[in-house]
Amino acid sequence: MAKLRGAIVIDKDRCKGCELCAATCAQQVIAMTTAVNQKGYHYAYMANPEACTGCTNCAVMCPDGVISVYRVKVEA
């Protein structure tokens, strides 16, 4: 059966660390860094990249449009 694999790219200096993306991710892919970006926010990153399905929910929720989503179908 084909499986969906996804990946996200976060524009870290535009991220304001609101955590809406991390809370909406059903696969718990996203977490916030302990480091801060140039604005002083803890920005989002892919903590668990293997689990991402590329569902785009994080990008749809992001108020600042910092997330780009990529998705491929992988034959298992």
């Binding site: 694999r5 996804g6 990946a7 790219v9 535009r14 304001k16 660390g17 609101c18 955590e19 809406l20 809370a23 909406t24 604005k39 926010y41 892919m46 990249p49 590329g54 785009t56 929910n57 990008a59 749809v60 929720m61 992001c62 108020p63 600042d64 449009g65 910092v66 997330i67 780009s68 989503v69 990529y70 998705r71 491929v72 992988v74």
Partner: protein, 259 residues
């Protein structure tokens, strides 16, 4: 498969609209304003009408729209967005015109302009952000501030004995003969965001077909004004705001949907 192999141009399924500039939004972290600003850009990009679109941004948190959009935006005085939009739409009837207004703007200082523009059935789109906050001025409540709701700009909360009741303005506008499409949405979950985008698309399609006034109200959070982190603010909104401001369509294709 490695993440690097997934991140390729041909696998891209979502990215920020090209109609949004690289200027970071002035909104606070987690604010629903950003989501709606983004959705409008996506709808305009999908319809391919960016060269024929004029946005109107009056005073409030919406004021800097011209920095974020890569299409024309005109500033209006506080509350006068629908008056300015009327002028632009009448001079250039083939342009797509929308106003982007907060509750302090649309339902307080601009109530007269809003009601009369709707009653005349002007053919443009009103996007109305309702977060119960008069965000940019201090010491006063918005007309939509809930009873007893204490906010950064209204620290004592609403006392209905002296200040009256929260103004639920969108159902009033739906009653006017001039409005064609009136809906109330939210942006607190991915499903709600997708629904709001469909509503915005419908509103712009109505304008394209010269159907008359379309109003999309979005009940939004105001984390800073409410003094809550974004996730808690969204929960608070579900528990308190939605009771007074129920989501759903109020008027579709000129037909009232309310009970």
């Amino acid at each position: 498969m490695d993440v690097k192999d997934i991140i390729r141009e041909e696998n891209l399924v979502y990215k920020k609209s090209r109609l949004l500039t690289d200027t970071p939004f002035n909104f606070c972290p987690g604010c629903g304003h950003g989501t709606v600003v983004r959705l409008i850009a996506e709808v305009i990009e999908e319809m391919g009408i960016e060269h024929d679109t004029v946005g109107i941004s009056p005073v409030g948190c919406s004021v800097f729209l011209y920095d974020f959009y890569d299409f024309d935006v005109v500033e209006a005085a506080h509350g006068r967005a629908t008056a300015v939009a009327t002028g632009i739409k009448r001079v250039m009837p083939d342009k797509f015109v929308f106003t982007y207004q907060g509750d302090g703007d649309l339902a307080a200082i601009g109530t007269g302009e809003t009601i009369h523009a709707c009653n005349r059935g002007e053919n443009f789109v009103i996007v109305f952000i309702n977060n119960g906050i008069y965000g940019m001025t201090g010491g006063q409540m918005a007309p939509t501030t809930l009873e007893g709701m204490k906010t950064a700009t209204c620290p004592r909360g609403r006392d209905v004995k002296t200040m009256g009741y929260p103004l639920n303005i969108t159902p009033l506008l739906a009653q006017l003969d001039g409005t064609y499409y009136v809906t109330r949405q939210a942006v607190h979950t991915p499903a709600a965001v997708r629904k709001t985008k469909r509503a915005l698309r419908q509103a712009f399609e109505n304008q394209k077909n010269k159907k008359g006034m379309s109003i999309v109200e979005v009940v939004s959070n105001c984390n800073s004004g409410w003094g809550l982190p974004p996730l808690q603010a969204n929960r608070w909104m579900e528990e308190n705001m939605f009771a007074k401001y129920q989501l759903g369509d109020m008027k579709v294709d000129g037909v009232l949907q309310m009970r």
